[in-house]
């Protein structure tokens, strides 16, 4: 017996006879993978593949073992092998992991600005560095394909849709008053600072079942999760002065903003086409609080309050003096809070929110009260489940309570709407080249007292490493303009059906995208007054109404962006064509609405000069003529305004003063001083008309931003 035990001692694990293991590792197409890792699990035996994808190593293992092959960007592959003389020719074909280049992304109708997604066509900072956009989010979106520019009204006019057909959504919550209060023939800015958002997605149609109440488009804005930098910032320009302060603790951060603005100094130097009695004066503040509630949970609370006052003599052809005195005092408050979280390694995620907004316009026309009031409370929950192979399914719901009031000539109209929606949507990857998104949304509005069902569908097919086709279709419902609902509670939803086909190539910092669409409008509200057409856009609709209207919009748009060819030069070109007719509102016959321009072209260029730390941007925008109502023409809306041209430039310079960063900026809008006309209005007798144009022709603006923060790190894209 003894010798046996002695033997045992000498049999150390290293003493087994060694066998050779070898083979080759390639991708699915047979291309060798160089530098792949191959080893026997649970041992130190292994090797790295050589330039031909070959490997070989020795092992003392016996019988069976598991051999593992891995390579960055590829799926791990494991094989059980019997270790014998024939283990020198193992072949592994590894599967590429899903990534941006090999997996299709559903893109029809979506135009994204994001830092995180590489498929995004814009970066958030593009919004502030685009000349002519005036650092306004919707201002920048107007230069995107599918958007039509309508100079005298606020809002986004998308593919033949009116401004009201686009909803602005912040973190999933509909914003009741995204723009400063509407004024006759003066375009208003958006209320939100572009720096608040980390991502923007502009839909030109066919959008997700998660959103509704918009016939044409949604503009999705996602707020940042963190304070950008600690410290105090000061902004000073010809129109306002403001301070902002950011402070971040370990798991929470606070940002506060306060500003006061008065356009009197600016208007003193920039010639105005409007007769101001009280130049716009505004003040406001906002507070953002963010809390990390758990490992993945984030609670964000944002509150803002602003008020403004202005008074002007507005042109009004219906009165003898030709002008009417308008006075507006606006108070606006908006609070939104969102809670997002995820569990089980992201398998489940939650997006929930609650928001309240309240807006009061004390408005008088010639001392007659035309006040407006609105209030919206909303709650929203969305649960997303991540399934295997990147497939997802989400479901959720939202509920809104909306109260509206309008005073018209001493009468107060009131409307209460309780709105609820439920939706479910699934993204399915059939293969990495073919993906689909199927969704259904159902809505109920108490004013309409009907339920609607809106199906949504998208497909995307990858046609090459850098190119893909997408298709989107869906039905979209929206409550009619509430002014119709004051008088007629029997109206139904207005509806739009979208069909979109898209092709894009993104390669090497160059993007080409073309999209064609057909949009069908149904159940549009028609108004019957028994009188001739009244072109006054501020008239209160008093006629009888029904849902007998219809219409269509069709066209295509084109986008080309190149950030590569010339160093530090970035330019993009968009062209949008739309052909649209409608029978709606007071129209007697089908016609092209006044907000439609058939051709929109924009050219945007940006150049960074490293030596002088200056970014120079130039924008050219062309908008073809739009129909206007001429009472002397027997054919309805057959006259067209001249085309609108605008060239604008903007320069921003970075400068460090004692460790504090200062950004100087200057812009000139309409540098050629083109006397643009947006539309014409006629006196009641039809004998004379006047042109509605911009508030001012050539105008300029200068300002500066100071960051009193040593921690602030800024690069060329930081303004």
């Amino acid at each position: 017996m003894k010798p046996f035990y002695c033997l045992l001692i000498f049999v150390s694990p290293l003493a087994f006879s060694q066998k050779m293991i070898g083979g080759k590792i390639t991708d699915k197409k047979g291309n060798p993978l160089v530098g792949a890792n191959v080893f026997l699990k649970g041992t130190y035996d292994g090797s790295t593949t050589d330039a031909a994808g070959m490997f070989s190593f020795k092992t003392s293992e016996k019988d069976t073992a598991t051999i593992s092959a891995s390579y960055v960007g590829f799926e791990l592959s494991e094989k059980k092998i019997r270790i014998n003389e024939n283990t020198a020719n193992l072949i592994f074909k590894l599967d590429e992991l899903a990534n941006e280049l090999n997996t299709v992304v559903i893109t029809a109708g979506a135009f994204e600005a994001s830092d995180e997604k590489r498929m995004a066509m814009l970066k958030p900072l593009d919004i502030v560095t685009t000349a002519g956009a005036a650092a306004d989010i919707t201002g920048a979106m107007q230069f995107l394909p599918g958007a039509q520019r309508v100079g005298e009204q606020e809002g986004l006019f998308v593919r033949g849709g009116s401004g009201q057909e686009t909803k602005v959504v912040i973190d999933g919550m509909i914003v009741q008053n995204p723009f400063f209060s509407s004024l006759p023939d003066v375009q208003q800015r958006g209320r939100f600072n572009p720096f608040m958002f980390k991502g923007t997605s502009f839909s030109t149609g066919g959008y997700s079942a998660q959103y509704g109440q918009a016939l044409s488009s949604v503009l999705l804005l996602n707020t940042t999760d963190k304070a950008n930098n600690n410290g105090l910032g000061i902004s000073l320009n010809m129109a306002n002065a403001g301070v902002n302060y950011d402070y971040a603790f370990k798991n929470q951060s606070v940002s506060a903003v306060a500003y006061y603005g008065n356009l009197k100094p600016l208007f003193a130097v920039v010639k105005q086409n409007v007769e101001w009695l009280h130049e716009p004066e505004f003040k406001g503040s906002s507070l953002t609080y963010r809390l990390k509630t758990s490992k993945n949970g984030v609670l964000k609370v944002y509150g803002m309050y602003s008020d403004s006052h202005l008074s002007m003599n507005t042109k009004d052809p219906s009165v003898e003096a030709g002008t009417m005195r308008l006075n507006l005092k606006n108070r606006n408050a908006f609070m939104t809070s969102t809670l997002t979280d995820s569990w089980k390694d992201g398998k489940w995620s939650l997006n929930s929110g609650f928001s309240y907004s309240r807006n009061t316009d004390d408005m008088t026309f010639d001392a007659v009260n035309f006040g407006r009031f609105d209030e919206r409370t909303q709650a929203r929950v969305v649960l997303t489940r991540l399934l295997t192979g990147n497939n997802t399914i989400l479901f959720g719901g939202e509920a809104h309570a909306i109260n509206l009031q309008n005073r018209v000539d001493g009468t107060t109209y009131k409307l209460k709407d309780r709105y609820a929606a439920a939706f479910a949507e699934s993204e399915i990857y059939i293969t990495r080249q073919l993906a689909g998104r199927i969704g259904m949304r159902s809505e109920y509005s108490s004013v309409i007292n009907r339920l609607n069902w809106a199906p949504r569908l998208s497909f995307a097919l990858k046609s090459g490493r850098f190119s893909q086709f997408s298709l989107a279709a869906g039905q979209f419902y929206q409550n009619p303009d509430y002014r119709y609902l004051y008088l007629n509670k029997n109206l139904n939803y207005e509806r739009a059906d979208h069909l979109i086909l898209n092709f894009q190539i993104i390669k090497n910092q160059r993007t080409f995208r073309i999209e064609t669409f057909y949009k069908n409008y149904a159940q549009l509200v028609r108004e019957f007054t028994g009188q001739p057409y009244d072109a006054d856009p501020y008239r209160f609709p008093w006629g009888t109404t029904n849902n007998g209207g219809k219409g269509y919009a069709r066209g295509f748009d084109f986008f080309w962006r190149d950030q590569k060819t010339v160093k530090n030069l970035d330019y993009w070109v968009t062209y949008s064509f739309v052909d649209s007719k409608r029978l709606f509102q007071q129209f007697d016959t089908e016609a092209t609405p006044t907000f439609i321009s058939n051709h929109n072209v924009s050219l945007i260029t940006k150049k960074w000069f490293e030596k002088i730390k200056t970014n120079l941007s130039m924008t050219y925008a062309f908008t073809s003529g739009r129909p206007y109502f001429n009472p002397n023409n027997d054919e309805f809306l057959k006259d067209k305004t001249p085309a609108v041209h605008n060239v604008s430039i903007q320069a921003s310079k970075l400068h460090a003063i004692k460790g504090n960063l200062v950004i100087f900026y200057a812009s000139v809008d309409n540098i050629l001083n083109t006397k643009n006309v947006f539309t014409y209005r006629y006196t009641p007798d039809g004998k004379s008309r006047y042109a509605v144009g911009p508030q001012s022709y050539r105008s300029f603006f200068v300002g500066m931003q100071i960051m009193l923060s040593k921690k602030a790190k800024v690069s060329k894209d930081d303004f």
């Binding site: 792949a36 041992t43 292994g46 960055v72 830092d115 930098n229 602030a712 790190k713």
Partner: protein, 217 residues
Amino acid sequence: MKKLLTTLVLIFAVTVVFAQNEKYSQAMTSGIGALKGLDKEKPDVKVLQDIANRFERIAAAEPKEWLPKYYAAYSYVLLGYYGANLTEKDQYLDKAGALIKDAEALLGKPNDELLVMQAYQSQIHLAADAMNRWQSDGPKFTEYLEAAKSANPENPRIYYLEGSNLFFTPEEYGGGKKVAQPLLEKAKQKFSTFKPESTIHPDWGQIETESMLSQSN
């Protein structure tokens, strides 16, 4: 007889364990040596990939040790710096991030060295596409280093990373060699008193610190 049997089995077991341990420290030492032997200015990416693979193999064979994962992550961060294009860089850096996470899971919570590595990973991730990433990665970098400081303020690599970050930031943006110098000096001083826990524990950064300091003066 029975006693002898037990003893023999015990000896056998110890031999195995000892051999395994010796194998571990030997493999680690050789891997670390290979890392140190790399050309600091222009390392051979293929060699670096091989080193990363070696540490990953050790990590797979020693599933309870955090150090092989740490060094594999370190190798992938370096690869993330030298990758051919952005996609490749990101793949390496994602891999590094996953390895750091694995190592954290082994320890139950991140230690100062893992936090430093995480900061390093964010720094290289930022550098890969600075224009678009400074806003998200900049705060992460600071955050990880702050956390590392509160775990162990004596870790010299914290100050080396802080210093190197400023070293490569242009003066207009609050960086530059002059601003970096005090932090690099601090790192140098911390390195002079730093004693790694064992020969295979993290002990890199001193040569880099001194090379940067020689350029700042």
